[in-house]
Symmetry: C2
Subunit: 421 residues, 2 copies
């Protein structure tokens, strides 16, 4: 074989752990490379738009951080994180109505490590876990390393459907799942927010079936309109709460946290020792200075206003350009809109055509457990990163790609070969 020198035979193929077979890489991450083409408008990434951060001020913050606390910042630190950083996390939670003692907070490498550590703490191969469906694809990746059976519960405009959750819990029985994972506010990818009534019902059901709840809250501060809905954690001290500074300051600092009852935190901290010994003390010092010494609330307000304008632009463009067969959510905060197309449209296949047309999105199947066959006719589109005009153009381009598909199927339907939905 003439290509033998270039194709690397994997002589280790029989040595990998079983988890490697069932895991998959994220289509989103794989898309980042493609999305660097300058003519492509990205609706795929959930990246905060930090272009407007006050960089000169931040540069002074980091300089001061090194001068004042450089030795502590550059040395190994506590596995659980710096006390001062935990105080910042406690302050951010207090704004959300959660009163936390720093003792039960652990600083993690972003929300992603929090998910990975919780997966590692709770999941044996084959264990049941419950999530919204669709849900955050990074959570599915984090959990899948520990080989759970993932049960997904649909949402509607009021969040996770409690009738479906109750039916699933009945099926699985008390203690029948390791945890219920939810993003109740401005869900990823749905953009929907769980109503107060459903939140109360969720907690009731979790108590009745004795299953822990993980509340993931990265977007809670990014509300554009309407009333704040209380966090699950404010209504039940046993909720495991995770959040991050990625969406309110900067993801590049990889600073998130877990706040949970102390027996759980003890296990999480033990697991974290093995995973990374400790997080970056320097990043924590920088985060402390940012939240203690700058007008971060003002900066965040500016960012939130920008996101709101973009959300408006995206929804207006969807109304203007998208075909009547498409349905989408109307988020009141966060980063994402979830679009559902007729079931004969295959969004994973459509992605390459969209790329050629200069627009990217996240095919919906990535937001469901691998192999479930769900989400193939759906997509996540993010309004957080592009300017309003670019968003309008992206939606226009995307609508043409969709129209092309629909036209074909409409012809089939007209010919009686396919049934209309």
């Amino acid at each position: 074989m003439t290509t033998a020198g270039r194709i690397q035979f994997d002589e280790w193929a029989d040595l990998y752990a079983q988890r490697v077979e069932t895991m998959r890489t994220s289509a989103v991450r794989d898309l980042f490379a493609a999305a660097s083409r300058s003519d492509i408008i990205s609706l795929s990434g959930g990246m905060p738009d930090i272009r407007y951060l006050p960089l000169v001020e931040v540069s002074e913050v980091v300089k001061r951080a090194v001068l004042e606390e450089g030795i502590a910042g550059l040395q190994y630190g506590d596995t659980k994180g710096r006390e001062e950083t935990k105080r910042v996390a406690a302050m951010l939670m207090r704004d959300q109505g959660i009163h936390a003692s720093t003792e039960n907070i652990t600083i993690t490498a972003g929300g992603q490590q929090a998910l990975s550590l919780l997966g590692m703490t709770f999941i044996n191969p084959g264990d049941n876990i419950i999530t919204e469906g669709p849900t955050y694809l990074g959570a599915l990746q984090a959990f899948s390393a520990f080989q759970p059976t993932v049960h997904t519960i649909e949402f509607d405009d009021d969040g996770m459907r409690m009738d479906l959750l109750e039916a699933k819990l009945k099926e699985l029985g008390p203690r029948g799942a390791k945890f219920i994972y939810t993003i109740p506010t401005f869900q990823n990818p749905g953009g929907v927010t769980m109503s107060l009534g459903r939140r109360k019902r969720l907690l009731e059901l979790a108590r009745e079936y004795r299953i822990p709840v993980i509340e993931d809250d990265p977007y809670g501060r990014l509300r554009f309109e309407g009333e704040h809905v209380p966090c699950l954690r404010t209504m039940d001290d046993e909720v495991i709460y995770i959040s991050t500074i990625s969406k309110v300051f900067a993801p590049g600092l990889r600073t998130g946290w877990i706040f949970a009852p102390s027996p759980i935190m003890q296990k999480v901290n033990m697991i974290k020792q093995g995973a990374d010994l400790c997080g970056s003390a320097l990043n924590q010092v920088i985060a402390e200075h940012y939240f203690n010494d700058t007008d971060w609330r003002g900066t965040l307000n500016t960012m939130r206003e920008r996101y709101q304008v973009r959300r408006d632009a995206m929804l207006a463009a969807l109304d203007e350009f998208f075909p009547p067969e498409a349905k989408w959510t109307r988020p009141t905060g966060g980063f994402f809109v979830w679009v559902t197309l007729p079931k004969y449209v295959n969004t994973p296949q459509m992605l390459s055509v969209a790329l050629e047309a200069g627009v990217t999105f996240v095919p919906g199947d990535g937001c469901y457990p691998s192999g479930s066959g769900k989400g193939m006719n759906a997509m996540r589109i993010a309004f957080c990163y592009e300017e309003p005009e670019a968003l309008r153009e992206a939606i226009r381009r995307l609508s043409l790609v969709i129209e092309e598909r629909l036209a074909l199927y409409r012809a089939f339907i007209d010919a009686g070969v396919l049934e209309a939905e």
Copy 2:
């Protein structure tokens, strides 16, 4: 019960994953709290002494990093790390004689995450792995999350004993272990360096039994005397090489790396997506500036000279104060000395007495797999962090604690109740 309000019953006890039962926290990490008492001299931590880093220069480096590359540094980054950071890793490896393409390098959150990711990539519960015994306790923690059976191979002054390794490989058979993990140069905790002859033999045996080798090389640049011994990776392209900037610049940046054949890296990168999405881009930018724009070699030389003076001080103090029954290694680089005491001395029990006497060390059992019963009469003492005078005083204090124990046992031996070793 009147204390019910203070003792928290763990109602989740039946929900944790099996791995949680077999893992344990590191005595070293738990000691950090105790070691903050100012009258205690710590021989326990493997912390580089970064007090002499040029902080003003570093503060300018980080300020520039934010001004010039702030947006990239504060945003999400590539799971595998920044190309520029990988180039720094490649440069550091080139100094060690390893020629690496950046394509097969992934930047990790320190060497610890590298170990955790490799454990996650290879280990199913019950799988055999082979390590030196004693070995790095953080590696045992990282691997133990995936529930391997750990087989330890003793070392002598020339490193891991190949006769014992060969016997073990014979017992386990071809492909009978997932990997052989070794710290060949200035081993942690042993301080010993594997001879060139043994390195060659190790690679021969690994090939014969078709078992991957993980070479962990955090201390390779910290040689005080003698000839550099080539890295395993320079002699065999299939070796998985991991290192870190923790000991040559700063652990607080949590920047290490894995360099391995591309099929392995593909799996590692997939695993890493779930574990943390990406590392801190800001820390990577800072590392790039440090290694590209400052006289880091000069700074490292100064640090190495300090470590050498401390090694000399520790060995001199051991010669002066330690009893004839004690044996210890004489490292030519790195951070650690490994002390072996008569088998009736129990170092884990001795630790609290030593703490009272104002000195800490790592009891040897922590450097063996949990429950092995090994290392109970040994200890790791680090010379990296304290000044020469403090090291001398610490060894003097420690010798008194040991003498007290020995005196008791000598009396038993004299009385014929115990046998001399």
